[in-house]
């Protein structure tokens, strides 16, 4: 894909964010209201097919461009990136591990946004420790029957399907060898979305608890057609997930920085705009430097991914650094805005509340650091 085309695509999304998202984001967020109209616009734009290969009806953009798209959406409202990303993680798993029949059945409709997916991995007692999930899938004739519960599932209420991790062999040793992934389409037989979770930030979109009470799923929906592949399939999508979370952090941080640098030129204290006070200048310089570094780390991880190289280390570093930078930058932006930053009249409080999600989601930053260290020790073994 050529550079001009990528730039045009990013521009189109930036325009959508400026025109349609920014004017309504804070209001919808404060009311914790699902952005149906914006999601419909994103469907029209073709965002649901962003990384789905062209031969399956998507745009087939590279991860470098995808990261920029997620950054743009998050600059407007981070929740929108969640709607797209969980969907595309599911599409990624089907693209890379699904059977030809599954790809043909799911991907074109997913690219059009008619089928909207999510990833149901986390359980009430199992987050970063994926192997300890308890949801089980028992073979019964042509179906598997799923039972268990999933937690913090994005798109569960408004999406139409979920990629669900469940144990087809609960006693397997090692435990991960017993995990399989299923493409579950919601129907009257389940699963049940039991409740929407109230959150500090990342509002407006559905983050739910999902119950599987003996939900039958056709065996044809076992992703890849063989049991025990689920752990590997999920792990393969994690690099993409981390690049995405890092890109979201860059987008939120960009928005916070823009708010701060604009306000600092308008607000006058002690006879001059506060941007002319060195205390504020130091903050602005620090914010912009961290932001730039975060963006470059994301771009580097995405470039490796696009080149087909392993990038768990780079993606992990990007996620770790960008999310911490985002938290600091959004807090600094609040300092620059002073009392106004603390009010809901300015969007900075929203950025500040959204920032922690990126430190926690897609593997907490502590886990991230451990993964980075483990990989470093592999690379530098003596």
């Amino acid at each position: 894909m050529d550079e001009v085309l990528d730039r045009d695509i990013i521009d189109a999304v930036r325009r959508f964010v400026d025109r349609d998202v920014i004017p309504v984001a804070s209001d919808l967020e404060h009311r914790d209201e699902y952005p149906h109209a914006l999601v419909a616009r994103m469907k029209e734009l073709g965002l649901f097919g962003a990384t789905i290969p062209a031969e399956h009806g998507g745009l087939g953009v590279g991860f470098g461009t995808y990261a920029r798209l997620m950054e743009e959406l998050s600059r407007g409202w981070m929740s929108l990136a969640g709607v797209i990303n969980s969907h595309l993680i599911m599409a990624y798993i089907i693209t890379h591990h699904g059977t030809a029949e599954q790809k043909a059945r799911f991907l074109p409709a997913m690219a059009r946004g008619e089928k909207r997916g999510g990833l149901a991995l986390t359980e009430p007692h199992a987050g970063s420790d994926v192997q300890s999930i308890r949801t089980v899938a028992k073979r019964a004739g042509e179906d598997y029957v799923l039972s268990g519960s999933k937690m913090f599932i994005t798109n569960a209420r408004h999406g139409t399907m979920l990629a669900v991790a469940a144990k087809t062999n609960p006693t397997a040793k090692p435990a991960y060898a017993g995990i399989s992934m299923f493409a579950v389409e919601k129907s009257e037989r389940g699963p049940t979305v039991s409740r929407n979770l109230k959150k500090l930030g990342y509002k407006g979109i559905d983050t739910c608890e999902v119950l599987f009470e003996d939900v039958p799923v056709p065996a044809a929906n076992l992703i890849g057609g063989a049991e025990g592949q689920g752990f590997k399939q999920v792990m393969s999508a994690l690099e993409v997930g981390r690049i995405n979370v890092a890109a979201r952090a860059v987008g939120v941080a960009q928005a916070a920085f823009e708010s701060a640098i604009r306000y600092s030129q308008q607000r006058v204290a002690f006879g001059k705009p506060i941007c002319q006070h060195q205390a504020v200048q130091l903050m602005l310089a620090d914010m912009a430097t961290r932001l730039e570094a975060a963006r470059l780390l994301v771009a580097n991880a995405a470039r490796k991914k696009d080149a087909g190289e392993r990038c768990d280390l780079e993606a992990g570093m990007a996620k770790l650094f960008a999310s911490e930078a985002c938290a600091k930058i959004s807090l600094d932006a609040m300092r620059v805005l002073g009392g106004y930053g603390f009010t809901v009249e300015f969007p900075v409080e929203r950025f500040y509340r959204d920032a922690p999600l990126m430190m926690i989601g897609e593997g907490t930053n502590e886990i991230q650091a451990l993964v980075i260290a483990r990989r470093l020790l592999e690379l530098h073994a003596i």
């Binding site: 085309l5 045009d8 189109a12 325009r15 959508f16 029209e44 734009l45 073709g46």
Partner: protein, 248 residues
Amino acid sequence: MKILVPVKRVPDPATTIRVLPDGSGIATDNVKWVINPFDEIAIEEALRIKEKQGGEVVLVAVGQQTWQEQLRTGLAMGADRAILVRSEAALDTLAIARLLAKIAEEQKPDIIILGKQAIDDDSNQVGQMLAEMLGWPQATFASKVEFQDRKCTVVREVDGGLETVAFDLPAIVTTDLRLNEPRYASLPGIMKARKKELKEIPADSLGVDLTPKLKIKKLDPPPKRQAGRKVASVEELVQVLHNEAKVI
């Protein structure tokens, strides 16, 4: 119906414009360029007509190579093909109207739809000149366009109200703000636009007199906005509005 839509490249209305110190033009570094918003409305109208009754939407621009970007955006919105009349020099409205008239003679559209004016120089001339040169009827400032066979009815926004005019095709329509709300170029549309025809023609190959009749002597930035001030009461406000601002 074959629809020709002339398109101009202008600075994004959202960008802050800085006038060069010598007043010869504007600083173009850091300026984002877009399709003139009125022309975008023209493209949208053309696409809606095509969707209703079939046909072809052809874009045309007169400018430098960089103008391809705006033509590509129009193609991404759904136009079928585009023509760029290449001119390195900036041309005045008369020269542009002459070039567009040439293109119209060659392309033989049923209707030409264009913005009522460009938001950069606000000339509001090209549509009218074009109508004169081609000898076609014109309806400027359109807020509604309808067709019946080869007849077109346009509701025009005039001072203090609306005027409805009807005429035969071929004709010129210039668009006002309320005609429609332009669509986005969708991402698949952007990808498809890459494969659509974008033909370049050198302006000096069309046998048109391009000598400028108009010269911009100087640009002045608008005066800096004065700081506001607070008044204590409604009475004082009315006093100030009447005596100082002289607006009531």
